[in-house]
Subunit: 227 residues, 2 copies
């Protein structure tokens, strides 16, 4: 589903260059459940932005669902993204003057569903993350963990083939985090590919494979032994 | 240092009321090291905003450094805050078009220091959180954990008597989080009062007292037995 070959990302700032990703080679197949870990600043979000077709690499090749991203222009990348991926951003990226419900409906904007079905889908998604009673709140009227859950609901509402989640439980207490991981586990059991960044080992244990970054490179990439 | 008596906070939304804080009674003395825990949405950030004089309660009394907040107007509250507190926000609240260094200098704006001393203090604060090589980056050029550390450095730069930190290690890997907790521990040993919200038990173990919220109320308030 995802193949990265020799992926590099440099950020040029004046005379300095930050090598955020260096020679990343990795393949993630359909139906996998992968945890991405590593120190702060080691390149995890940069990697997720590449894989989510939200940013372009400096060098190297990235293939998603069989398509070489370099051959797609921005509109085609956006469409591939909307059809294939659900993305949970590390900083949530919710619209500030928009209710939780309307934030969650956003990915449905270019689909063929009628208004009632969009309403139902968005309500169901918010219900699944425990926010049925917060649908009309806008983000400034929600706690940190509630905002994070709105971002998660938005990523799920269009039933994507793959979920890319950057620290999806960072703002959640242990019990709520376990509920969210149960939700991801259930989706994975239905065939959804899940790639999530986390810095908590207990969260990573839900995954079947752990990719660890260090200083822009993949340091280890290990599949869990069947129990 | 902080006394809350019968503290209540209601958010009115049309015909609904959210009782975010209900009858909170608590005292925090000089030099304490307190962890605040509880489920997502249980009132922790609302409590921190009250104690940080960033918002006013609906009912009840709040006394900080001997002064009843209800008797202070907004300007006086702002001055008390600047003189006494360092606040790390759950959502960081960094200025977007401003470098890390200038973000950290912000609390020094109304102090009597000359420019060189402000520069040195801000650099030292960023160095202490491991960001010496990221001083000219603005927030969009920093990783999530780096942004969090800029918010922490900004809270420390004016050497406040009390640090209120809302999930200060939420975006950090375990090793970096331990470094930050070491920093808080060192400041506490020097007499700084530390109150931090966390959902991670390993982080809370650094504190000597744990206050747990549930549904807007304090559920438990326990001091650690001396080891
Ligand atoms: N401005 C507001 N208007 C309406 N409701 C609000 C507002 N701000 C917060 N709330 C509600 O008050 C409750 C407490 O919010 P608070 O931010 O204090 O929770 P929290 O314990 O910090 O949660 P988290 O761990 O998720 O950050 C939540 O249920 C939230 O939806
Ligand atoms: N736009 C940018 N310009 C310059 N440097 C950048 C930019 N974006 C990221 N960086 C740098 O690239 C490195 C990798 O950033 P990235 O966000 O991928 O880290 P991360 O592993 O997600 O960290 P965290 O766990 O703290 O979220 C960091 O050192 C960061 O300072
Ligand atoms: Mg990141
Ligand atoms: Mg909060």
């Amino acid at each position: 589903l995802i193949r990265a070959e020799g992926l590099c990302k440099d950020y040029v700032m004046g005379r300095n260059v930050v090598h955020a990703l260096i020679d990343v080679d990795v393949e993630i197949d359909n139906g996998e459940f992968v945890a991405v870990m590593g120190p702060s600043g080691s390149g995890k979000s940069t990697f997720m932005n590449m894989v989510g077709a939200l940013d372009r690499p400096t060098r190297g090749r990235l293939t998603i669902a069989g398509r070489d991203l370099a051959e797609l222009d921005d509109d085609e990348q956006a469409r591939l993204r909307n059809e294939t991926l659900g993305f949970v951003f590390q900083q949530f990226m919710l619209l500030a003057r928009t209710s939780a419900l309307d934030n969650v409906k956003l990915p449905l904007m270019y689909t063929a569903m009628d208004r009632d079905e969009k309403q139902q889908r968005a309500e169901a998604a918010l219900n699944r993350v425990g926010l049925a009673d917060r649908m009309d709140h806008n983000p400034s009227q929600l706690s940190g963990g509630q905002q994070q859950r709105v971002a998660i609901a938005r990523a799920l509402v269009n039933r994507p083939r793959m979920i890319l989640a950057d620290e999806p439980t960072g703002a959640l207490d242990t019990a709520t985090a376990e509920e969210i991981m149960g939700l991801f586990g259930a989706l994975n059991a239905e065939g959804v590919t899940v790639v999530l960044v986390t810095h908590e080992e207990e969260i990573a244990e839900h995954a079947r494979r752990i990719i660890r970054f260090r200083d822009g490179r993949i340091q280890t990439d290990q599949r869990r032994q069947a129990a």
